[in-house]
């Protein structure tokens, strides 16, 4: 992986008013690799990936895409640059149908000139198929997203990002609300996407999920990078401890039979 990374950030800083959410974070993602972003609650993972996705503007630091410094004005710019994101809060409109949410911002068109209109039939078919691939059998693609279960909703967001992801796929805790079957599907998906040559940023709190698909692991703690480790270099236990932000877990874990 001597090639230029698809995405690289150096010493990223992000303030919200008086809150310092990121205080010097660096990472890079190359094509064909899965970077797991790990860290405690409130470490700044979501803030970081929102900056990558064009939602937030960084307060300081460098942000390079394909080796060139870049400034996204809006999430649309990031999407156009081939970066698709599943946000932790999903970015879905509860009142709109599954299909409409799926294609929001990237509607498939039919017809020509000023009479172009949405190809609803195709949209419905694609939605149903993509959801099926991820293991969800939806009743009706026209159902409002607001009436879906938490996990079903998550799957819509993931299926959408995978479908439209071109270069980099960013997933913020995609498996947190998912059942066992769906989780397996999603992890397999990530594997598939990587093998197609995309870069993936995968946020999770589950060290097993991270180990299952990750190539490298970057750990955040209180707005700072704690370090990056390749898969071979670190054991699951050590990573687990790093993720917890240096809190000793043995004791707690021991009481509960070491199963966490």
């Amino acid at each position: 992986m001597a090639e230029t990374p698809i995405i690289e950030v150096r010493d990223l800083v992000k303030h919200f008013g008086s809150v310092i959410a990121l205080n010097g974070v660096s990472l890079k993602v190359s094509s064909g690799e899965v970077l797991c972003l790990l860290g405690d609650n409130g470490a700044g993972k979501s803030t970081l990936i929102k900056t990558l996705a064009g939602v937030h503007k960084r307060s300081a630091g460098d942000f390079l895409v394909d080796g060139r410094s870049i400034d996204f004005e809006s999430p649309r710019d990031a999407l156009d640059a081939g970066i698709a994101t599943v946000y932790q809060d999903l970015a879905m409109i509860p009142l709109m149908s599954i299909t409409r949410n799926f294609f929001m911002g990237r509607e498939p068109l039919k017809g020509f000139g000023p009479f172009r209109y949405m190809d609803m039939k195709r949209a419905d078919t694609v939605t149903r198929e993509e959801m099926h691939k991820i293991g969800i059998d939806i009743r009706d693609p026209q159902q409002a997203v607001g009436t879906l279960s938490g996990g079903e909703r998550q799957c819509v967001a993931i299926a959408r990002a995978v479908y439209f992801g071109a270069k980099v796929l960013i997933l913020d805790e995609p498996t947190s609300a998912l059942g066992v079957a769906q989780t397996s599907m999603v992890l397999k998906y990530i594997d598939l996407v990587r093998s197609k040559g995309l870069g993936v940023v995968f946020i999770t709190h589950n060290v097993r999920h991270a180990f299952a698909v990750g190539n490298r692991f970057t750990v955040l703690n209180r707005g700072r990078t704690l370090g990056t480790h390749a898969k071979g270099e670190i054991a699951m236990d050590a990573l687990q401890n790093l993720m917890a932000g240096g809190k000793e877990l043995q004791e707690l874990s021991g009481e509960l039979g070491g199963t966490i």
Binding site: S74, D80, A91, G105, M118, D137, R139
Partner: protein, 372 residues
């Protein structure tokens, strides 16, 4: 692989969905509520109003104000679905009317140029409204409220300047006399058809042989076409999807790549253009404009849209609902005059009818869509 998930029964039905009759499926449209409200109102007037209300002439008489309101209501509905309000709508009617009339009688422009100028003004006003809302992040309620005052005030100042001191500018009819273009914005459509029907005794005539109803008010044609267009736009186009998304959750929409600001700006312009269209129609019809034109139309438009099922919080509603909402409101507004109800009670009945129609609408909608 697909067989793993296939637990549907042999008919391909999902066991987690209750079967429902074809009829239920057919009518499972939120708009049905508004239709039901309209039916209720019609039944009420059939029983209590003078029978002249439902003659051809009576219906056309209701269509004119209902259509003008409807054009505004559909514009307001689109904007509301997109998550914003335009309270300057009514003042915009007066302002556009002034610009249009002044272009004709003060600057002596041809009709086409005057229409163009009026719509250009709509473009500017809509854009200004939108830009202020977007850049300041203030609620559109308060921003457009400021323009409600500003445009109304400018209209008065402009009228006094244009007329040399009065609050009315007239003489428009003389200027546009004989223009074919004017036919698109005033008078009646389908006059030939109605004359033919009168000649063949299919509709009522005056003693002199002319039909009592000489055609469909031209605004009704605009109204229906606009309702159809807006429905297509909302349900079948990319832009329609963006409208719903922007109103449903602007942040989520933006994160998904919807150009929310562009959508909102367009909607503000469309709303202002609706006001301008109504202004042109009324100015040509009345042959004059005055400082009170369009007074409180913004509220009537919002009311009609809400009757038709639009949510005030954005992200939900339909053009066809606004269409029926306008018909309901227009019919109640004019219809009470056909009854023998003491006119002092007018407002009481207006309010009651509104409430009953909306409640009924709501009950029917919940019933058919199975909301709880």
């Amino acid at each position: 692989m697909s067989t793993i998930y296939d637990v549907k029964d042999k008919l391909g039905r999902d066991e987690r969905v209750k079967t429902s009759s074809l009829l239920t499926t057919l009518i499972r449209k939120p708009e049905l509520g508004a239709v039901a409200g309209l039916v209720l109102v019609i039944v009420f007037f059939l029983v209590f109003a003078s029978p002249t209300m439902f003659t051809l002439a009576g219906i056309m008489n209701i269509m004119a104000p209902a259509s003008q309101l409807g054009i505004l209501a559909i514009g307001a509905a689109l904007l509301m679905i997109g998550g914003e309000f335009d309270l300057s709508l009514g003042s915009m009617i007066a302002f556009a009317g002034l610009v249009f009339a002044a272009a004709l009688v003060v600057w002596h422009m041809p009709l086409a140029a005057a229409i163009l100028i009026a719509f250009l003004v709509a473009l500017v006003v809509g854009t200004v409204n939108a830009q202020i809302v977007i850049r300041t992040g203030l609620p559109s309620f308060i921003v457009t409220l400021a323009f409600l005052f500003i445009l109304r005030g400018l209209t008065l100042v402009g009228l006094k300047w244009a007329s040399g001191g009065a609050t009315q500018l007239r003489g428009i009819k003389d200027v546009v006399e004989g223009s074919t273009l004017a036919g698109f914005f005033s008078g009646n459509a389908l006059e030939g058809l109605f004359a033919w029907m009168a000649a063949h005794d299919m509709i009522d005539k005056f003693p002199n042989g002319l039909p009592k109803v000489s055609g469909v008010p031209v605004e009704a044609v605009w109204f229906v076409l606009f309702a159809l267009f807006a429905t297509w736009l909302l349900l079948r186009t990319k832009f329609g999807n963006w409208i719903f998304a922007s109103g449903g959750d602007a942040r989520a929409a933006r994160n998904s790549g919807v150009p929310v600001n562009r959508v909102k700006t367009t909607l503000f312009v469309v709303t202002a253009a609706c006001a301008t269209l109504v202004a042109i129609i009324t100015v040509l019809d009345a042959g004059s404009t005055d400082a009170r034109r369009g007074f409180q139309k913004e509220f009537e438009a919002i009311i009609a849209a809400v009757i038709g099922g639009c949510l005030l919080t954005g992200g939900y509603g339909s053009a066809i609902g606004a269409f029926f909402g306008s018909l309901i409101f227009g019919m109640v507004l004019i219809g009470l005059t056909y009854t023998t109800i003491d006119q002092d009670w007018y407002l009481v009945f207006l309010g009651t009818m509104l409430l009953v129609a909306v409640v009924f609408n709501n009950v029917v909608r919940k019933r058919v869509t199975g909301e709880r």
